[in-house]
């Protein structure tokens, strides 16, 4: 029988998300659809697009 493991990033007072279940400024890019991450060299960028 397998084991179900819960893994979470949590503040020391037990919070894992904002009240609306989003996970905060650092990860907004993961929830905002298409976005572009510029790179320091400037001649290319990383983009995420909707599947």
């Amino acid at each position: 029988m397998g084991t179900v493991v819960a893994q979470a990033i949590m503040s020391l007072d037990g919070y894992v998300a904002k009240p609306d279940n989003t996970i905060g400024r650092s990860f907004d890019r993961l929830q905002n659809g298409e976005f572009e991450i510029p790179t320091p060299v400037g001649d290319f960028a990383v983009r995420q697009v909707a599947a």
Partner: protein, 184 residues
């Protein structure tokens, strides 16, 4: 200037008091953790607490023969209360702090002597945390999830970053997390 150090038992989910169970007593302390605490409590310059905690402790420790009784009885106490009378503060030696939190803490920190310990309760400790009056947090995280209760940090006006000083686990599953607030 001496430090204000908070000792607080806390559930995994950040509660320091609850109708379900109390994180300070739900888990057996064990000899190792008790000695760790005794070694530090015995060096305190004063015990700081709110009125309710003071009344609980002052009715218990003077009659106790537990190893904690000596440092609790012998080291001076400061109780923060607007309502406790001098006649009610019978636990030797007790000073009543009736002024504003920040003013009283500043005066205590300026006195000579070893660092002082804050015990609680949760509302008092939370008020000190919210006002950024605690220099070091010694959070004894219990292997216990409560789901609801009084949170230590629920009075904070905004998020706060901490520096982890030490994390130490004990055989009973308690983990001591020692943090100092970042002041950038």
């Amino acid at each position: 200037m001496r430090d204000v150090i908070l000792y607080m038992s806390m559930s995994v989910d950040g509660f320091v008091d609850s109708d379900r169970e109390h994180p300070g007593v739900a888990i057996g302390e064990g000899a190792e953790l008790k000695q760790w605490k005794l070694d530090r409590i015995s060096k305190a310059g004063a015990h700081l607490m709110g009125r309710v905690t003071y009344q609980q402790m002052s009715s218990y420790w003077p009659q106790s023969d537990d190893p904690y009784a000596s440092p609790m009885n012998d080291i001076p106490k400061v109780v923060f209360s607007q309502t406790l009378s001098d006649a009610e503060a019978t636990w030797p030696v007790t000073q009543i702090a009736r002024g504003a939190l920040a003013t009283e803490i500043a005066a205590i920190k300026a006195e000579p002597g070893p660092d002082v310990i804050v015990w609680g309760g949760g509302r008092f400790a939370g008020a000190l945390a919210a006002a950024d009056l605690i220099d070091e947090y010694r959070l004894l995280v219990q292997p216990l999830v409560l789901g609801q209760g009084r949170a230590l940090f629920d009075q904070l006006p905004d998020s706060r970053h901490m520096n982890l000083i030490e994390a130490l686990s004990f055989p009973n599953g308690v983990v001591s997390h020692i943090y100092r607030p970042q002041h950038t």
